[in-house]
Amino acid sequence: MSIAALREVGVDYPRGAALGPFSLEVAAGEIVALVGPSGCGKSTAMRLLAGLEPPTRGQVTRAAGRCETAVVFQAPTLAPWLSARANAALPLELAGTARSDAFRRADAALARVGLAGAEAARPAQLSGGMAMRVSLARALTTEPKLLLLDEPFAALDEITRRALADDVLRLWADIRPAIVFVTHNVEEAVYMASRVVVMTRGPGRTAGDIAVAGPLPRSPGFRTTEAFRATVETVSQALAQGMAA
């Protein structure tokens, strides 16, 4: 079942074309990685999937409603004046859920991302990785059908990146949302995704749609397998071709 689809979409900004024509179909429960050169329109594609902006051309279909879609940005994007708990509860409260109920579910989401005990902390008291986890918990409180991650680990160090990637896969195993995530890191894309979509340089089109063998969620041992290395090589080649196109 398709959760969201972009069909031959194009987006033009005053400074020129940003995306397209580009198509992407996301099935329920799959993890899709979007990789491509800077400025190819990955973030634009994410905004289309989220329904945050309309395409100039083409068609966007979304089976997931607004409240069933969640976005995690490159920065944690937390409200500094709210506690981790209140930040995580924000989507529920905006949708009209009673505060006590919203806080209870926020606490559960924080516990899921390993932040039990930090509910009352403010963003300024958290490390970059912890703040990113709060952002992830906020996305999970609504139990989304579609989770969009826009370079969520770009600002973090390698160890934190890997830990968070495993966390995301663990959370995926719990509630099985469809995940679309943008990354510049080919190995991260292959490690986390069931499918890697490679984009050409801007305005981005599809340069490759590569399935990753091996069941999800993956164990860290997957990084050492021959299949992993071969897929990384295939994606890298598609990326190089996309750059030249």
């Binding site: 945050l52 607004r66 409240c67 994007t77 409200a79 004046w81 905006l94 403010r122 958290l126 912890m130």
Partner: protein, 267 residues
């Protein structure tokens, strides 16, 4: 040790300057109506203390009342104009004109409107006008300075106009509004004193009147004493507002690990 030196340095500089001033007055035999030596100013300060305190109370209470009024008006207007860009554009020229017109120039007019029997009203009105702008401009800037990603998130979760204003814009504006109040507090004192000068009559017993009165009598030491109290009052008010700003910011963003040398939570 470093803190002690930081604390003592300004005190030492003031002591040296006062010493030089006293010595120069005595050595050059400067007439006291022209420049009173610090010792005479000190004596005037002690002798005039009850009157000066009463005058300072009058001035500061007017300034605080003006600050309160300016705060309420500025924030209410800022919230209103945030609802519409057109409204903000319509109001902007008026607020700028109000800001760039010297308060001393509009004082006679405000005096007439307030009625010569109520100089206190004129003083509060003028000080309010002066204190209004920093709070207003801080609030408008703050209400607009919202993290665009946080705004997108509110869009995604279908927040309505009211939720956007109360749950996103207003809290985002807090640091800007606090800074605006700090600047406005000093300006409210300036506004109150300028207004006292213009509205000056027997009924206005503020510090400006003390300065004018001593000036007419060529009692320079008493003028300096009133100026000293005025400066001290401004500094104390500024320090209080700075403390309030820090406390407000601590409440706003929580006890920051950056200020406290690291937090237990950071991993």
């Amino acid at each position: 040790m470093r803190r002690l030196i930081d604390l003592l340095a300004p005190v030492a500089l003031i002591a040296v300057l006062l010493g030089a001033w006293e010595t120069a007055c005595r050595a050059l035999q400067i007439p006291s109506y022209f420049l009173a030596p610090p010792s005479a100013i000190g004596a005037a300060l002690v002798a005039d203390a009850p009157g000066l305190l009463k005058a300072a109370g009058y001035t500061v209470s007017n300034a605080l009342m003006a600050l309160l009024l300016a705060s309420l008006l500025a924030q209410a207007l800022a919230l209103t104009v945030t609802l519409s860009r057109t409204l903000e554009r319509a109001v902007q020229p008026l607020t700028v004109i109000l800001q760039v017109t010297p308060v001393i120039a509009i004082a006679p007019l405000v005096n007439i409107w307030a009625g010569t029997d109520h100089p206190g009203r004129a003083i509060i009105a003028l000080a309010t006008i002066v204190a209004f702008f920093p709070i207003y401009s801080g609030a408008v800037t703050g209400l607009r300075a919202v993290d665009p990603d946080l705004m997108r998130l509110f869009d995604l979760y279908g927040a309505n106009r009211f939720q956007r204003l109360w749950r996103l814009r207003a809290p985002s504006a807090v640091p800007f509004v606090l800074e605006g109040h700090k600047v406005a507090a000093g300006l409210a004192i300036v506004g109150a004193v300028v207004a006292e000068f213009v509205a000056g009559s027997g009924k206005v017993q503020g510090l400006a009147w003390r300065i004018l009165d001593a000036g007419y009598r060529l009692q320079t030491a008493r003028m300096f004493a009133a100026l000293f109290v005025l400066g001290l009052m401004g500094a104390v008010l500024y320090a209080l507002l700075q403390w309030a700003e820090r406390a407000g910011l601590r409440w706003w963003r929580g006890r920051s690990g950056l200020a406290g040398g690291g937090s237990a939570l950071k991993s």
